[in-house]
Symmetry: C2
Subunit: 319 residues, 2 copies
């Protein structure tokens, strides 16, 4: 049986975790492209402490900027943070060949569209990761909870052979992997949760999902923001179930108190994914001339907070 | 000439500063009611480091809970933070007599109404302080900039004799003191500035007025919030000049970069005046059934942030 060759782009929490999962399978060769942590991972590989199974592995190839690959990849899974300044296209141009299927496992909306335009001959998949993983140090991540994936073909809008084969890989490795004929709709659905909980967890000074539901003012705001994002989704032609908001609130109330990824980024003074999670839907709102006042105020706050939080600012003499 | 007897309630930055200013005048006896700092101020008095003039004084009487006064007061100036849990009425009942004029030098809206109901026989004035003062330690404040006052009679809606005589005192002491026939309108006008700049300075991680104007997203949000508060003011019958927003933006652009009082409270883990500055106008909006989406989202964020910031919360095990 031919080896399936997979390249993970990004050695953060998500990339490291799913790479370790696939590397474990016979018949799969996993390589890794690192933006940072290159030396550590080349020497020591990647360690994953997981509620499923602890793992330590050395990728077949550890690659970074300017290094070409010795082999062609069947799948390239992009697990980078969705930040405007990351030059994903140039990374992809180094490794994508005619046979490569490109899978975007990123937050927010809009990324598949750009990649599909740049690589019109390649199949582009979108994927959503529902999981709680932290990167504790270079080459060391901790998988705390969940792990399921949802993947779908952006190019074909059906359950394509590439989707089926990737699903099979993850399922063989013990990861629940759903498929969606309309991954963009699924992305919007996830966004309905992501926008309020990520934003409010940060803007309220580090609240957990639980705390945001406990306070009636923030609970109301969560629902109103969800309604704005849901209206945008439907305007884009991606209908959502009528009870999406209530279902999400109930589901979140049953989750363990949880710090969102945006809050973790904020607390560690890393750039937050403000553009992918809030900026992109705002652009959609502007295109349709729709009013989304909550989304718009929260975007402005987070956009400025992101700047303050990632630059080391001097305290003012006036105080 | 009879002595004018003045009681300042509150030994924070505003109370300490204006008390020191009036104490300096011949013919004025200044006493002080402290919620905290009582022992320090009784022993050492109050020191004010000021761009106008450094001062050190001992109030005629230093009072606290349960202590009655040896004299009746012509004016009681309330300089407490506008927080829901401060029992202002019971403090006032201890010291107000038939001849007392009560002056509320507090932020936000709505305070005069409550006091006037409780003391229908006394004249109630409202006052606005435009100044930049910090309390650095018990009994020690630093006056950095500005200092002008605007006072008016809430009870009489005209420039009453009490207003004129208080204005004269402050002007004699070198403090510019305007008067307003409609102090509630003046309060609303100040609120148009206070709501956006106080809130956004905190919610964006400690931005100065200058930074909020520099970022086009926060500048837009500042203007939109101002428009919401201005619409409320006018709905309440307090018309504002049509160019209020533009004038405020220009004025703020010329100010030194400035940390708002809410930001100072936040940074020092003190309770912020969320109810007086945002909650009170929201109640007005609800009464008129007016939509103020920005005000409402920002209130929810600050309300939760206030809780997080003033309680010492444990970090969660999940992170």
């Amino acid at each position: 049986m031919a080896q399936t060759k997979v390249l993970f782009v990004g050695s953060g929490a998500v990339g490291s975790f799913y790479a370790s999962v696939l590397d474990f399978l016979p018949g799969v060769e996993v390589s890794l492209f690192c933006r940072s942590d290159y030396e550590t991972i080349r020497q020591k590989g990647i360690r994953v402490e997981s509620v499923l199974r602890n793992r330590h592995f050395h990728p077949k190839q550890v690659l970074s900027y300017g290094q070409s690959s010795l082999q062609e990849f069947d799948f390239i899974l992009v697990c980078l943070k969705a930040l405007p300044q990351i030059q994903l296209q140039s990374i992809l141009h180094t490794y994508v060949t005619a046979k490569t299927c490109i899978v975007l496992l990123q937050n927010g909306i809009g990324a598949e569209n750009q990649v599909a335009k740049e690589f019109p001959e390649n199949e582009v998949l979108g994927g959503l990761a529902f999981t709680c993983i932290n990167r504790l140090a270079p080459g060391f991540v901790q998988h705390i909870d969940y792990g399921q994936l949802n993947i779908g073909s952006y190019s074909r809008r059906n359950i394509s052979p590439a989707v089926q084969s990737l699903q099979q890989l993850f399922e063989s490795a013990g990861i629940t992997c759903q498929t969606s004929a309309n991954i963009v709709q699924a992305r919007w659905k996830k966004l309905i949760w992501n926008v309020p909980f990520n934003s409010l967890s940060v803007l309220t000074g580090g609240s957990t999902t639980y705390e945001l539901l406990q306070n009636p003012h923030t609970l109301r705001l969560v629902k109103e923001i969800m309604a704005e994002v849901m209206a945008l989704s439907e305007k884009e032609g991606h209908l959502q179930q009528a009870d999406t908001i209530e279902t999400y609130i109930e589901m979140t109330a049953k989750m363990k108190p949880y710090k969102t990824s945006m809050l973790l980024d904020f607390e560690n003074h890393r750039e937050m994914e403000v553009e992918a999670i809030l900026g992109a839907p705002l652009v959609v709102a502007q295109r349709h001339n729709m009013k989304v006042p909550h989304l718009s105020s929260i975007y402005a706050l987070l956009q400025q907070l992101n700047q303050k939080n990632t630059t080391s600012s001097e305290l003012l003499p006036t105080s």
